[in-house]
Subunit: 441 residues, 2 copies
Amino acid sequence: METTPNNRSKREWEKLQANAGNGLLDRRAFLRGGAAMAGAMMGYTFVGSAAAEPLADDAWSKAPGNIVPAYGAPSRFEKNVVRTLSNPNSEPRTSHARTPHHLLNGTITPNGLHFTISHAGNPDIDPDKHRLVIHGLVKRPLVFTLDALGRYPMVSRMTFVECGGNSAPFFSKEPIQASVQALHGLASCAEWTGIRLSTLLEETGVDPKAKWLIAEGADAPALSRSVPITKALDDAMIALYQNGERLMPGNGYPMRLLLPGWEGNMNVKFLRRIKLVEQPAMSYYEARTYAPILPGGKAYQFYFLQEVKSFITHPSPGMMLKEPGFYEISGVAYSGNGRISKVMVSADRGQSWAQAALQEPVHSKAFTRFRVPWRWDGGPGVLQSRAWDEAGNVQPTRAQIVAARGETTKVPPVTGFPSQHYNGITTWAIERNGEVKHVYA
Amino acid sequence: METTPNNRSKREWEKLQANAGNGLLDRRAFLRGGAAMAGAMMGYTFVGSAAAEPLADDAWSKAPGNIVPAYGAPSRFEKNVVRTLSNPNSEPRTSHARTPHHLLNGTITPNGLHFTISHAGNPDIDPDKHRLVIHGLVKRPLVFTLDALGRYPMVSRMTFVECGGNSAPFFSKEPIQASVQALHGLASCAEWTGIRLSTLLEETGVDPKAKWLIAEGADAPALSRSVPITKALDDAMIALYQNGERLMPGNGYPMRLLLPGWEGNMNVKFLRRIKLVEQPAMSYYEARTYAPILPGGKAYQFYFLQEVKSFITHPSPGMMLKEPGFYEISGVAYSGNGRISKVMVSADRGQSWAQAALQEPVHSKAFTRFRVPWRWDGGPGVLQSRAWDEAGNVQPTRAQIVAARGETTKVPPVTGFPSQHYNGITTWAIERNGEVKHVYA
C-alpha cells in the first residue's frame, strides 16, 4: 500500500497523542531510531513547503564575504539578541543585564549574554595587580596572585547562577505583560573552571573555630557576603574561566566565588578576600535585600538555596504562533538541590500533564533543557511547566508562594518584601490569534 | 602532635608520588573529600605566599566601574586571547582562525574563539531570506525557512569539530617551534542545538536508492561534500545554535550540517541544499585536499573519521615555568568514535605513565579535559599524553603515523600529502630554565 500522508498519519497520530490534553504529544515521539515513525510526521502536515524550484543564488552566494575577525561576534542580523539593561546610561545605581531566554536554545548561556548585576558598573581590574587573600581563623594566612592560582588543581562544572530577585514580577497582584527575558532573565548557566575553595583552605589550614567565611569583592561597593564553612568545604569554587575563557568583566573578572545552587549575590565577583570567622558579618545585602520580612512577621534570612524551578521559553510572550500545527514546547529547569528528575508540561491550565523529555546529560545544579512536542489546534491554550528535583522537591504553584510570602500592588522589585526567591509555576496563555500572554493560573 | 608542614608532608608525599616517574602524582591526590590529605599540600610548599598585610585598595576599588554593555565582551586585559589569523587582510584565499588552547581551560570553546576556516570570507546571510532545500532521491522535496525549522523537535549535544588538516605541522621532518594554538588550533568544542537530519528526512521520505547525500553551502565557493546516508540517519544534525546563541557567522550562520566526529570540512556551513543521490559527487575537496596519495601509492579518500587524539595545553610552548614546585598538567582529548576512556600522561619521554583524571561528565565525540598533578623538580622533563577511546582505539605515536603516511621537508600544510588527519602523540620538552619546547620523541 502506498504511504500517503493521510492513511499513514491517522494510525500514527493516535499513537502519539495519547499523552495529555490539548495536543501534547509523547516526548518519545521523535526520538532517534524512530524508524517505526517514518512517515508519521508527514501526517502532521509538518512545516516544510514543497520545493518546486531549485534555489536562486542570493547576493552572498555570488561574492566573497566579510573579513574573518580575531574574536568572533554574532551576525549583524542578530543585533536584537542582547541583554536588556535596567541602567543603560550607567547612572549611580544598580545595573541589571538580563538574559534573552526566548532567543536562545540549548543549556549554555553564551558569555556575551550571561546575566549580570553590577552595583557600581564593571570594575576595570588589572589581573596582574589583583590579589586574593585568605585570612582570619586559618593556620597560615595566604595571598594568591592569578599566576599562583593557575598552578593549582582545577575542576570544571556546569552550573547556573540565579539572582535571588529573579522573577520578582511574579509577586505582583496582576500578571505583568513582559517577555521571559524581563520576567526570568536574571538566571544563566555556564561551564565554570577554577579551583575548589577546599583546595586553598587545605593550604591555609582551617581553625576549628571557623564556622563562616566572609567573601569580599574588589569592586567599589566592596560587596561582601557571609558563607557557612560547610558550603566552602563542599562544592565552592574560585572560578577563573567561564565557558572556556577568562570570566567576563560583569561576571567577576578575574575571579569570583562560585557557590553552585546558591543565591547569585553570594557568588561574590572580583573576589579579593576570604576571611574565616565564627559568626556571619550581617553585611549590607544579607541584612537588607535578602532578609525581607514575611507576612507573619518573621524574616526571610540566610535562605541561600535557589530552589527547584522551570519556565517555558518557547513559546513565550512576545512570540506569535502563525498557524495551527506542530510546535515544540521547550524551556529550562534547574534546582540548587541537585539534578532535575522530571518536568511535566500542561497545555490545558494544569488539568492534564505530559512528561517532557530532558536533554541528556542532566547536570547537578545546572540548566536542564526540557522539550515536549505539541500540536496546536488553533484554539486557546494555557501552557505551564512544573519541575521536580532528585531531592524530591517539587516546584510550587504561584498561589502557594504568595500564601507564604505575600504579594504586592507595586511593580517589583521594590525594597522590602516580597521580591525574593520566586520559584513558582509560570503560565503562558495562547490566544486564538496565536499571541502568547502572561497570565496567572 | 602538632601538624607542621614538614612532618606531615613526608608521609603524605610518599603516598602521592607513587604514580610515575619525574614527579607525576596520583590523579586522585586532590579529589574532594580528601580530608585525609588536609595539610598534605602544605608539604609541597605550594604556591600561595604569606599574607603579611591586608590588601591596599587599587584604583578600581575606589570609583565606579565601566558601563554594562548589552552584549558582554572580555576584559581589555585579555586582548591577546584571540584567534590567530592566516589571512588577516582577507586576500582572495582561505582564512584560518585558530583557537588559543593554551589560554583556555575547561571543555567548551567560547563562541568568539571557536576555530573557523573560510574559503571566501564569512558570507553576510540574511536569515529571513536563506532557505534549505532537501531534494533528489526523496519522496517529497521540501524547502525550509528558518522559521519553519524553529518549530521542529530539537536536540542539543556537546561535540568537537576538527579540521582534517589540524596538526599538519607534525608531518614536518623537524618539530616546528610554535604554540599549541598554531599546532592544534583547528579543533574546538561547543554545545550545538538543532534538528536531527533524520527528522527532516522523515518529512521528505527517503528513496531506498539513496546511498549518499550532497550537502552544499550558500557561501560563494558553494562548498559541497558527499555524506553517506547512514551518517545522515545516525547522529547528523542541522545545527542552528552554538553554545545557546545562533551560530557565529564563521561557523555557518544561520545553519550548518553537523556530523559529530567527522572531518570539519564535511560539516557544511551556510547549508542551503541537501540532495540525496546514489553516488558521491567527487566534489572539489573530497577529490583534492582530502584525497592525498599515500607513500605506497594508494589514495587516502573518504576517511571521514577524526580519530582518537589528545594534547597537553598546560604547560605548552611559549609558556615558562617560573620555579620548581607543583603544577597541574592538563589538556584535551577527543575521539570521533565516542567517549574517551582513558588518558595516560608521561613526564619522562614515555618511560612511565600516570593515569590522568577525566573531567566528568565525559561526552561522546566531545573535548574531555584531562588533568594530572605534577611536581617539577627543576630538571629536564618530556611531557606526553596518550588517549584511548571507548571503541578501544589508542592514539598512535608520531613514528607510526609517519611510517604509514610519510613526512615532508616543507612546512605543512602543503598541497598533496602528507597533511591530513594527524592524531599522533604530541611531545613538549621542559628545559632547565622552565621553557617549554616542541620536540619529537
